[in-house]
Assembly symmetry: C2
Homo-oligomer: 340 residues x 2
């Protein structure tokens, strides 16, 4: 099968400067891929002038005169930027001109516009952001990462269904282990919402392994970890903060004196190999789950390599037909609940 | 002035094996310190037999026949362990036999028993757990770390008052910078509780600097960061998870082959110096704020050095008279609010 993906070429901190090279990188790697670059024609087209015929026929530019800025309020982007690259890219999915779209732009705006244009899947209240976290034993899919605050137990249950379907499909796991993020693993721990969500999950056919604590995000023991977006966003940003803090001290430590600079030189290949293994860019590309269409959010600071990975994430979700899988799983769950 | 601190000698993963040496270490370091070791006499006393007279006169043993276990439900510890070392240690504070108590035991039980025995300060609904987090520019006090779930805006405000008083006193800062943890820094971000707490803080005399995100916990830009215990606990445990994940890869990376083992040898002093700077043991000793008395919670896995630091944290709070400061600040705030 062939893939046709729309890219919001203007989004993110770098815009076309990194997104166009990312597109070319992905086209070279995947001969069955076609890309639709959406954005300011005058900026994008010159960057494609040098392409050979084989690549040029698989890339198309769709002019969009407006750009959603990174700090724009989602409601304002939705109301006032009807000709933005972000909106045009999402509309390509709606119209069937693309099977998925990828944007490194303003997350809130991407959520709001996607929801408005594509609509939600039946049985899902709100979209959730899901990403892969590398772990000690294996990696984990976690959701929601900030799309929702104050999720109800029912919404947490919906996140669990969506996360399990995505993870099962892309990782080829028959019954992914799903856990709920909490302040302790005992039954009596936590707030009302996680306690009630636990009851819903205990009763379902999901392979629910119970509560896990914050440190388990990085152990890889669960395939899917479910949480409210307020908690998930803060946990992930706190993790980024710790990494920055350590890198600061490592850089500092190795720059103290001549001996430490020598040690840095000797250790460089090892430190680089550690960095490669733990590099978050390898996992760039979060899914906006629950929509009637595939939308992938790239990190705003993504470089070409990283953005190319987000394109591959979109291809994988197209191949696995994630929205349809979520819908059919929800139908099964609803039927089995009603028939009890 | 002299200090008199009660220690729950049976709490934590190691009990008297680390707590008695920690006590002796602290006594040697501080000649104005007296300690009351509370727990099973038969286990504690033999460990003190070798002490010289100068130290022996400053350490006393109070027999308590029961021990609260680490996995015991707080309600059960409160109801069924009326002769526990933890309870006796807290009662010494109530009776004025000690100015503060320190325990490495079960956090939930310590909270419940402290609250029952000591009672809350006027104007404070519930105790909050506050600790220091090392950061890039400076360190930050953060609360609550798991004592409360679903805190109301008023409770978040109380945490801010308590955190600001503690930090101002122990760090000698006149107007500590207080921030609220949120999923974004813009006004419209977050759940209702943080938005309402922001209004209360904006109106108050607290030096409130607004919302901060998860990564700011480790930047040191705020002196105090306030959050609900559910969020704070998960953010901190997630941070621990990241550190474990990195240490795993660092250890692994330096063990790959002969070259990397050699590099590890060369880098050892630098890595050790980094570890010292970022060592959480230097910051052991969380405060249970809001009680009519000083209670310090040591990490359950604390070794002697680390537990000794928790004793010093207790001494500092005694010197600064934290509960009285919180009370007088709340009186000022209430008066100024009422007079508007």
């Amino acid at each position: 099968m062939g893939y046709r993906i729309a890219l919001d070429a203007m989004g993110g901190d770098h815009g076309p400067g990194e997104i166009v090279p990312a597109a070319i990188h992905a086209l070279k790697k995947h001969r069955d891929l076609e890309l639709l670059l959406v954005g300011l024609e005058d900026i994008i087209k010159p960057r494609l002038a040098h392409l050979n015929h084989e690549l040029a026929v698989r890339i198309q530019v769709l002019h969009a005169p407006e750009v959603v800025t990174m700090d724009e309020a989602p409601s304002s982007a939705l109301r006032n930027k009807k000709n933005s690259s972000m909106r045009f890219a999402i509309e390509q999915v709606k119209k069937g001109q693309a099977q998925a779209c990828v944007s490194a732009g303003n997350t809130g705006a991407l959520m709001a516009i996607s929801r408005y244009i594509l609509k939600m899947l039946p049985g899902i209240d709100r979209p959730a952001i899901c990403t892969i976290i590398p772990g000690i034993n294996s990696h984990t899919h976690i959701l929601d990462l900030g799309a929702n605050v104050d999720s109800s137990p029912e919404q947490l249950f919906q996140f669990a269904v969506m996360g399990a379907e995505l993870t099962g499909a892309v990782e080829n796991i028959r019954a992914p282990k799903v856990a709920l993020l909490n302040v302790g693993t005992e039954e009596n721990k936590g707030n009302d919402r996680v306690k009630k969500a636990k009851i819903l999950l205990d009763r379902s056919h999901i392979n629910f392994i119970g509560f896990v604590e914050g440190n388990h995000i990085y152990s890889g023991d669960a395939d899917v970890i479910v949480c409210d977006g307020f908690v998930g966003n803060i946990a992930l940003k706190a993790s980024e903060g710790v990494v920055e803090f350590f890198l600061h001290h490592v850089t500092d430590g190795f720059q103290q004196n001549l001996y430490s600079k020598l040690a840095a030189l000797v250790s460089k290949p090892i430190l680089e190999s550690i960095h490669r293994k733990t590099d978050p860019r390898r996992h760039n590309g979060a899914s906006l789950l629950g929509l009637r269409g595939i939308v992938i959010k790239s990190h705003g600071s993504a470089d070409r390599l990283s953005f190319a990975h987000a394109i591959e994430e979109a291809m994988l979700e197209v191949e696995k037909n994630i929205p349809a899988r979520i819908t059919s799983r929800l139908e099964v769950l609803l039927t089995s609940t009603l028939s009890r």
